[in-house]
Symmetry: D2
Subunit: 349 residues, 4 copies
C-alpha cells in the first residue's frame, strides 16, 4: 500500500509551479499542503491564475523554512536560478526531501556554472549531494535519493535522443551538433519585448547561439556516458507556440548502421521505460503528439551518403522538460511506480 505524502511548491506563480499543481492534484499519493511564492503572500493563488478558481483554494504562503517543515515532507523548488542555490541547502538541512527545478544544482563544476549563469555557484557540499534526475538514465540513483536536481528542458530532449547512441559508441561524440527549438513558455512568465505577443507571433528566431546555459549540462552528461570530454555545438530557437521542444541532433557514425538498427538499439535501451516512445523508420515525431504529457518521442534517419545520423526528439517542455519529470523523480524517490499520477494522454489536437 502506498502511503501519502505532503508536498509544498515554492514558486507556485510560475509556469513550472502551476504545472506541478495540475499534475499533483491528480496524484493519488500526494497532498499539496502549501503553495508558496515570494510575491502575493496571503492572497489566493487563483487571483493570478483564474483557471484554478474553485479547484485550488489555497492562499500563498511565504518562503518560511519552519512553516514549510511543519506543513510538508517534500518540497518542489520551482524557483529561478540563484534563488535555489540559497534556498535548497536550508530545506535539506531542515530534513526535507527536495526536488529542484532550477539550473543551480545540475552542473558539478562551480566554475562552469559561473561562466554560463553569470552568478555565484551553490555550495559544493550540496552540489555533490544532488542526483541528476534524468529518470530514464539515472533512475536507479533517484531511488531513495533525498535531493534531486531536475534536468533542464533542452537537455532532457537532447540527452534522451543521444545517450543510447553515445553509450553504444555508434556515433562520434566530438561531431555532435544539436539544433533545438522551443515553444515560448520555456522562457517563463516574466515579461520581455521578445515575448510580447505581437512580436513573437508569426516569428521564428535563434537566440543565445553558442552561449546557452544548457550547453554545459548536455556536455557534462555526454562526457560521463562517453567516458571522455565531449564538446557540442548547441543552438536554441524560439517557435511561435506555447509548449513543446523539438531537438534535431546530428552526428557522424563510427560505423555503418541502418535506421532499423538505431530503432532496435533505442527500444532496448528504453525497455520498461514507458515515457520514451521510439518511432518506426520514416515517421517523425511532432511536438503536438506529446503535448500536455510526459512522453518523449524519438525518430531516426541514417544518411549513407554522408555517414551521418539525424535524430529527432520531442517533449512538452513544461511536462517531461520540467514538472512531469519532477513528479516522475518523486515517484522514483518514494519507490512508487514511475508513472503514478502521470498517465496523461497527450492533448490532441
Amino acid at each position: 500500500m502506498n502511503s501519502s505524502i505532503r508536498a509544498a511548491i515554492i514558486g507556485s506563480t510560475g509556469y513550472g509551479g502551476v504545472e506541478l499543481i495540475r499534475f499533483l492534484l491528480r496524484h493519488p499519493n500526494v497532498e499539496i499542503t502549501s503553495v508558496i511564492s515570494s510575491s502575493s503572500v496571503g492572497k489566493p493563488l487563483s487571483d493570478g491564475f483564474p483557471h484554478l478558481r474553485e479547484i485550488i483554494v489555497d492562499h500563498l504562503d511565504a518562503v518560511d523554512i519552519p512553516l514549510i517543515k511543519q506543513k510538508a515532507d517534500v518540497v518542489f523548488a520551482a524557483t529561478p536560478h540563484g534563488v535555489s542555490a540559497e534556498l535548497v541547502p536550508q530545506l535539506l538541512d531542515a530534513g526535507l526531501k527536495v526536488i529542484d527545478l532550477s539550473g543551480d544544482f545540475r552542473l558539478k563544476s562551480p566554475a562552469v556554472y559561473e561562466k554560463y549563469y553569470k552568478r555565484k555557484a551553490a555550495d559544493e557540499v550540496y552540489l555533490a549531494k544532488a542526483v541528476y534526475g534524468l529518470a530514464e538514465v539515472f533512475g536507479e540513483q533517484c531511488r531513495d535519493a533525498d535531493f534531486i536536481s531536475n534536468p533542464g528542458c533542452y537537455p532532457t530532449a537532447t540527452l534522451l535522443g543521444l545517450i543510447p547512441a553515445v553509450n553504444a559508441g555508434w556515433i562520434d561524440p566530438s561531431t555532435i551538433i544539436v539544433d533545438a527549438k522551443s515553444g515560448v513558455s520555456g522562457a517563463g512568465r516574466g515579461l520581455s519585448q521578445s515575448f510580447h505577443y505581437s512580436e513573437m507571433n508569426e516569428n521564428f528566431l535563434a537566440y543565445k547561439v553558442n552561449r546557452h546555459q544548457h550547453t554545459p549540462e548536455i556536455e557534462q552528461v555526454l562526457s560521463q556516458i562517453a567516458g571522455k570530454e565531449v564538446l557540442t555545438t548547441f543552438t536554441t530557437h524560439l517557435v511561435p507556440m506555447t509548449r513543446g521542444i523539438l531537438s534535431t541532433m546530428y552526428a557522424q557514425l563510427t560505423d555503418s548502421k541502418s535506421d532499423e538498427e538505431f530503432i532496435d538499439l533505442y527500444r532496448e535501451y528504453y525497455k520498461g521505460r514507458p515515457f520514451v516512445r521510439i518511432r518506426p523508420s520514416g515517421q517523425w515525431p511532432a511536438t503536438k503528439e506529446v503535448w500536455g504529457s510526459n512522453y518523449c518521442d524519438i525518430g531516426f534517419s541514417v544518411d549513407e551518403r554522408t555517414g551521418r545520423v539525424t535524430i529527432v526528439s520531442v517533449i512538452d517542455n513544461l511536462v517531461k522538460g520540467a514538472a512531469g519529470q519532477a513528479i516522475q523523480n518523486l515517484n522514483l524517490m518514494m519507490g512508487w511506480d514511475e508513472t503514478t499520477g502521470l498517465e496523461f494522454t497527450p492533448v490532441y489536437p
Copy 2:
C-alpha cells in the same frame, strides 16, 4: 461500489472520438472495448493519431451492430450529421445505451431540422426518445436515460449563459443577440480551404451568419425555458486557435439589476454543479482558462445607460462542448458522480 461498463466509440478517427478516448482512458468505471470507424478498419487507431502510440493499441472495428452489441454496453456515436440518424436507431433497437454527439437528435421538429441541416430528419419515434443532455439544466432527465443527445458546442456555451436569466424572467428573450466565436477544431478534421493553416492563421472571420444549424437548437431550449417562442440573432465566427468557444450574449433587462444580482442568481442556479464557475464582477473569463477541461466559466456586465446586460461564457468546444459533456452524461445515466473521470484541471498556459 461502482461497477464497470464497456464502451464503444463510433467515429474514433474524428476529434470528438479521440477526445472521448483521452477522457475514457482515465475513467475509473469505463473500459474502452471497441474503437470503430467506417474508414481504416483493421488498422491500429494510432496509425492516424501517433500521439496514441503505446497508449491505445486497439485496431479499428467496422460499424457492425452485432459486434458492437457483443463488445459493449454503451456506445458513443461521434459520427457526422446524417450518419447518426441512420445508425442510432439500430443501436437502440439492439438494446445498447447510446450517447449521440451529432446534431441528428437534438431538434424535436423534423421540419426545422430539415431546414437547417438540409437533409432528412431522423425517425420521429427516436427523436421523441432522445433526452437533450445539457447536464446542468436537464440532468434529472439524464439519470436512467438510455439515449442522450449531446448538445452542440455553441448551444452549450450559450444556453448555460442565458438560461438562469431567462428562467428568472430578468431579460426579454425576444431581444437576445448571441455573438459566438469558436476555435477551428469545432469544424472537425475534414479538409477545406478555409481551414488550411496558411489561410486561417492570423485571420478572423464570420461565417453562416443567420444560418447556423445551432440557431434552432438554442431557440428550442430557450423557448422551453421561457414558455413561449423565442427567436434569436445568432452569429458565429472563427478564431485562429484550435480549441475554445466564447459566447458574448446581449439582452434587454426587464427590470433594473446589478452585476452582483446576476452573479447571485447564477451561483444559486448552478449550486452543486461543479463544472460551472461564475466570475466575480469585473473579471471576464478567457477561453484558455478552461482549455482541456470540462468547465464553463461565466461573467456579467449590466449597462445602466442602455438597460442591457452583457454575458460572456467560455468552454473548451471539444470537452464541455462535446466529449466531456458526453461523459458527464454517461455519469448521470449510470448514477455515478457527475465529475467521475472528468476532474481535469485546465491546461495553462
Copy 3:
C-alpha cells in the same frame, strides 16, 4: 504637379510610428525628415527595430518644438493619450500642420473624455479646432484642414459599417449593439501579462466590457449622423493574432429591407471612395483579406425572422485603423489624391 513636404513622426518607436514610416517611405510627395521619440534619443531608430536596418538610417530626435519646426512641415503625433493633449497645441502654435493619432482630440466633450480616459482633457480651444478624420465620411472637412484628429481603430471599422444605414434611417440607432474583435497589436508595444505570448496564444477573451474609451467616440459620431443622442452597447475582444479588427454590428430595421438593398445603399454612399469595398450578399469579409492595406470591407445579412440586420466590417487596425488613415488624411489636407502612397495590395496569405 505635386510639391513635396517634410514630415516628422513623434512616437516613432511605437507600432503606429513604424507603420507610418513603412508607408511614408513609399509616399511620392513626402520626405521623412525627423523620427522623434522621448526615449532612446540620439540612437538609430533601427536599434529597436532591426527590420528597418539599411532602410531608415535616421537617429531619433528629441521632442523639441523649435527643432521640429525647423525640420518639418507636418507632424504625425503617434503619442500616447495624455501626451498629445499637451504637445499638439504647441505644435499648432508653432505653425505646423498636425495629424494626431491619439484619443485626445476626438471627443468634443471634456467631461466625457475625462470619464472614459480617466485623465484631464485637452484645452477646449484646440478640441474645437480638430477635424475628426474619418476620411470617407468627413473628407470634405479634412481638405485644407491644419489639424486632424485621426479616428480610433474600433470606431473606424464600426462607423464605416453603420453610418450609411443610420444616415438613411434604415436602422433604429437606439438598438445598435457592436461586438468588436481586435488583434493584439491594437494594445501597442507596452508589456503586460495579458499580452505575454504564452498567455495570449491559443486564447480569446473579452475586456473592458461596457467601459471601452472608444464607446463615446462611436456614439458622438452616430449622434451627429442621426441628429439625436445615440447610446450603444459596445464590447471589445482580443483575438490571438497580430493585426486586424472585425466589428459585428446588430440593429433593428425600421422597415423591411433586403441584403441587396443594403449593398446598393452602401455602394452608393461610398461611391468614389476606393478604400471601402462592399461584399456581395452571402460573402463575409475576413481580416486577412485587408491585412497590411488601407481597405475596409463590409458585408450584410438581413434576418427577416427577427427584423434585424447584421453588418460585418474588417480593417487592418494599424493601417485603416491608424497609420494608413492618417496618411489618407494628409492626402486630403494637401489636396492630393486620397490613395497616394497607400496603393498597397493586402498581403495574402
Copy 4:
C-alpha cells in the same frame, strides 16, 4: 527611360502567383496583361481571392500559348513541378521570355532530378538554357537572359548564407549541416491533413529528413562554388506560422576566424546588393524582420571551443524565396535597377 513590358502569370491561383501579382501591380515598368490558371478559366481571379476585389478585375485565361504570345512579352510560370517541364519549352519556342518558379529547371542532371522529384526530368536542351537565378550570386548571367530558373526557397536562404564562406575557403564544405525551418505557406495552397489548421497550430515538426528535393539544388551550387563535389546534411521543419524561412547552418572552420571577420567577408561579398543585410556580431535575425519583403538577413557566431561557425539566415519564403526574387530576376533580365518594384519595407509587427 524604361520601357514597359507586358507580363503573364501562369499559376495565378497559387500563393506564388498572387504574390507575384501583389508586387507586379506596383512595378512601374510592368503591366499584368494575363492571369492564367488551368482551373476556373473565365472566372474573375478575385472569386478565389477576395483580397484582390476591385484591385485586379481580370478573368482567368486558359493556358493557351498563342494567346499568351499575343498578350505578353514575359511569362512567370508559377506552376507545379512537372507542369513547367512540359510548358516552359513551348513558351520559349514561342519566343517569350520565361521566369520559371518551379523546380523543373534548377537541376542540371536529369538523373538527380528524377531521384528526388520522382518524375521525368525536362528536356536537356532546355535544362541547359536555364540560368539559375540566385540574383546576388549569378546576377551577371541573369542580365540579358531569356530564361531564368528561379531558385527554391530553402536553397535561397541557405546558399546566400554559405556561399561567401565556401567561396573564400573558410569552411570545409564536407562538414556542412543545414537545419532549415519554414512557415507553412511554403507547402502551397493544396489541402493536406498536415496543414489542417487544428493540427498544424501549436505544433512543430521535422519532415522529409534526408530526402528533401532541395538537397541536390543546394549541393549543385555549393559544388560549383567549391570546385568539387559537396554533399550536405539537410533537414527541413515546419513552423506554425504562414511566412518565413530560417536556415541554421553549421560547418567546421578551415582556420581560426572571428565573428567580425565573417561579417567583413560577407559585407564585401554582398557589396552593392541591397537585399542582403549582414547583422552585427551577437545580433540574430528573426523571420519577422524580413516579413513581406525581399531581404535576406544573415548573422554569425564562431565557436572557438569546437572550431565551428554557426550561420543563421532568414527570408520571406514567398518573396525572396519565390515571387520577389523572380521579379528581381526580371529586373536583371531587362537591365533595370535590381530593386525596381521591390522597395517594400518589411511589415512589422
